[in-house]
Structure formats: structure tokens, C-alpha cells
């Protein structure tokens, strides 16, 4: 017996994270019964995105062009390179309007317990980039144990190439009151305190 189109659709939907057989079935029935137009739009959007979106050759972020808009901009400072884990992190830093340099998106983090090591992160592109355009590298990976491990690895790698490396600071949130903050953050903030020069 051949697999029906419906079965095929349900099987295909299960490639999404968190979608099991039940959810796939619900989605498939919804698309076919209630929203055919939406289904066709979804199909064409997926088709276009999957065949046209690639990684920017400079920052590794998703881009339809060889070099993404941000990297092609002439108004950015080429002397600084901010390394983030995911595209969403890049958007947050852009939203904060605190940084005018360039970016590099790792598209992940080192996580040995998930089997993600240095090879899986494809760091060759980052290495090539700093070798071609020497700059200060700012490590803006998450303050999780995996993010810290990634920062340590990158710092070792980049410093061996003679690159100046810094790590974003952590501590109390802006407008934060000591009374409300969690102990872990507070302990780290006290540990990483800095001298005031007036």
C-alpha cells in the first residue's frame, strides 16, 4: 500500500520541534479542513525560504543575499565584532541600540552533554573572518554554563591568533533592586565588582 498524501503531511509536520504524532494530526486536519489558503501560503513560504535563505558569508546569520544587509552597511564599525549564539540575540543587541560594530552568529553553543563540540559549530568562518579583518572581538554568548564554556573556547582560540577578546559584563539588571534580585546574580555581581574612579 502506498502512503497517502495525508499520512505524508503528518509525517512531514513531525520534523518541527515539540510536534508529536497527535499535534501533527491536529495541524494536518486543521490545514486541510479549515484553512486551505493558509496551507498553500505555508507551502510556498517554506519552499521559498528553504531554497533561498542561506548563511551570510560574513556574519553567518540567515540571509537571502551572499552578504546580509547589516554586514553590507557602510555605517557600521568594522573594528568590533560581537559574537552571539543565535539570531534572536543579535536582534536584542540591535534593539538596545548600544552597539555599532559587526556581528558573528554562531548558530548554537558548545554543549558537550548534547554532543555539540567545536567541530559542530563550524568556527572556520569566524577564524577566517578575524584573520582577514583584524578587530576586537566581544563575546556575547549566554551566561549559562554552556555559554560560558563557549566563551572560554572562543577566547582560547582567538587569543592564540593574537586577537583582542572581551566578554560582556553580568550583574544586576538596570533599575534592579537588591531586594528583588536572585541570589546567584547578586553573588556574581559582588564577586565581579569593579573599582569606582571618580
Amino acid at each position: 500500500m502506498t502512503v497517502s498524501y495525508l499520512d505524508n503531511l503528518m509525517a512531514a509536520l513531525r520534523c518541527l520541534p515539540g510536534v508529536g504524532p497527535k499535534s501533527a494530526q491536529r495541524m494536518a486536519y486543521h490545514l486541510l479542513q479549515r484553512d486551505r489558503v493558509g496551507a498553500l501560503q505555508l507551502a510556498s513560504a517554506l519552499q521559498k525560504a528553504a531554497s533561498n535563505v542561506q548563511h551570510c558569508s560574513k556574519c553567518n546569520n540567515f540571509s537571502e543575499l551572499e552578504v546580509c544587509e547589516l554586514c553590507a552597511s557602510t555605517r557600521r564599525d568594522e573594528g568590533q565584532l560581537c559574537v552571539v549564539e543565535m539570531p534572536a540575540d543579535l536582534l536584542m543587541i540591535e534593539q538596545a541600540q548600544c552597539y555599532r560594530g559587526m556581528y558573528y552568529v554562531l548558530m548554537g553553543r558548545l554543549s558537550p552533554l548534547d554532543g555539540i563540540g567545536a567541530k559542530q559549530l563550524h568556527l572556520e568562518r569566524l577564524v577566517k573572518r578575524v584573520q582577514q579583518h583584524p578587530c576586537e572581538v566581544i563575546l556575547a554568548t549566554n551566561f549559562t554554563v554552556e555559554g560560558d564554556a563557549t566563551a572560554h573556547y572562543l577566547a582560547t582560540l582567538l587569543q592564540s591568533l593574537g586577537v583582542r577578546v572581551s566578554r560582556i559584563a553580568r550583574g544586576l539588571p538596570v533599575g534592579g533592586e537588591l531586594e528583588q534580585v536572585d541570589s546567584g546574580t547578586l553573588a556574581q555581581a559582588v564577586l565581579e565588582r569593579r573599582e569606582l574612579t571618580v
Binding site: 552533554l113 582560547t156 553573588a187
Partner: protein
């Protein structure tokens, strides 16, 4: 609260988070090593919400007290409190911490309490944070872990004959058998009497002892892992090449 649900509730249990996975939209699935209940899977609902108070608490390598309920394979987190007193691991110490966690995740069964091992793990994290040379710390932990799992190493006596090991003699360590005199046979791992005695005393200051004990432990742990690969080892090797 019914009697049954009270029974399935654990209050303020000392624990470490070994690993966590994103789960559903805003939750975390935690792999927890607790002092009285061993390794457990616990879901922390809403832990990935932007303002979740759990974020700064559910960090690896930090002692926490957890309260949870449920009796199935996956429990549900009720609350978590930060204990403190353990400096954050950084650099190489952090990599070593990942190695400890990978060993525990791969070798410890679920719902099996190992209180001594828990205390030893806690002390080992302290050593990693305060000492510069981590090799000896890792060897001690590996030895302790195997012992807790029921594979205690007898290093100071020959298997079978029960003859005491002599520092100047040469031996072979045969897996699941023990130390035998080196009579030119090819099986087992070649090792000096000096290393065996130093390992018994947990003294890894001699470079040759450090080297041989590392290799012996690697062989033994690989045997117990049954073909599973430790990714932290690869990562540390990559780091050393830089």
C-alpha cells in the same frame, strides 16, 4: 492535599543540576543529581519565561534545594532555592565540571541514591574552583565514582594470589579481574607497581603516575561506558591543540 500526593512530594532536597534541555515552549527538563534520591528527571515549568525567577537558580555546578512532586519518571518542580558557597567554575575548571557531569549522566542510573558520591561530587567542584591542577582531582573522582557504582578497584594487591603490590615490580591491570604480575602476556593494561600504590594513596604528584593513572582510568571508564563517547574529552583535546 491528599495523603497520596503528600507522599509523592519532596521538600527542600539538596541537589545539583547536571544538565537541562528546553522543553515545550517555556519549560526546562532538568537532569538532577539529588543527595537523597539520586538522579532524577524534573520538569521546571515556565523556567524559560523572560522574567522567571528560576533562571538564575537552576544553574549547573551550583548547589540548590529543590522541592518537587509526582511519582512518574518525570517529576514536576515546585520550587528551587539557591544555596551558594560554590564559586562559579571558569575556564578549564568549567570543562572539567562538564566532564564530571557527563560521567554521572552516562553511568548513574535513575532513582538510585548515592549520598557519599553526592558529597564527593560537591567537594570535587570545590577543589576544581580553588585548585589549579585538575588532573589529580579528576582521577580521585573517577576512582570514587567506580567504587560507588560497585566496581571498586583493588590496586594494592594482586588478584587471586592476594600478594601485596611492590613498588618496583611491573604489573598488568586486566578489566573485571584486577592486578596481575606482568609475565609477558599481552592482555590487560601495563602499569607499574609504583603507580598502583600511588593511586591507592590518591597521590598523583609524580608525572609518570599521573600519565599512567589517566590512561588506566580511561580504559576502565570506556569499558563501563560500553561504546558511548564522552564529548567533553573531545572538546578538551581540541582546546589543548589551540
Amino acid at each position: 492535599m491528599t495523603a497520596a500526593s503528600r507522599q509523592n512530594r519532596q521538600q527542600d532536597e539538596l541537589a545539583f543540576i547536571l544538565h537541562s534541555h528546553p522543553f515545550r515552549e517555556t519549560s526546562l527538563l532538568l537532569d538532577v543529581f539529588s543527595r537523597h534520591h539520586g538522579r532524577l528527571a524534573i520538569v521546571a515549568r515556565g523556567a524559560r519565561r523572560p522574567r522567571s525567577a528560576l533562571r538564575g537558580v537552576l544553574m549547573g555546578f551550583q548547589p540548590v534545594t529543590l522541592s518537587w512532586f509526582g511519582k512518574g519518571e518525570v517529576r514536576t518542580l515546585h520550587s528551587a532555592e539557591w544555596q551558594g558557597g560554590q564559586p562559579y567554575l571558569q575556564g578549564t575548571a568549567l570543562m572539567c565540571g562538564f566532564y564530571l557531569n557527563e560521567l554521572l549522566v552516562n553511568l548513574l542510573g535513575r532513582d538510585d541514591a548515592h549520598e557519599q558520591l553526592f558529597d564527593y561530587y560537591r567537594a570535587t567542584l570545590q577543589r576544581l574552583a580553588h585548585e589549579a591542577d585538575h588532573a589529580a582531582t579528576l582521577r580521585c573522582f573517577e576512582k570514587h565514582l567506580l567504587q560507588e557504582l560497585g566496581y571498586a578497584l583493588e590496586l594494592e594487591r594482586e588478584a587471586g594470589s592476594r600478594q601485596p603490590v611492590l613498588a618496583e615490580a611491573r604489573y598488568r591491570y586486566v578489566i573485571e579481574h584486577g592486578v596481575v604480575a606482568d609475565d609477558g602476556r599481552m592482555d590487560g593494561f601495563p602499569i607499574s607497581g609504583k603507580t598502583l600504590l600511588a593511586m591507592t594513596a590518591d597521590d598523583y604528584s609524580d608525572p609518570q603516575v599521573a600519565q599512567q593513572s589517566k590512561q588506566l582510568m580511561r580504559v576502565l571508564i570506556n569499558h563501563h561506558l560500553g561504546g558511548r563517547v564522552l564529548h567533553t574529552r573531545e572538546l578538551v583535546k581540541d582546546l589543548q591543540k589551540l
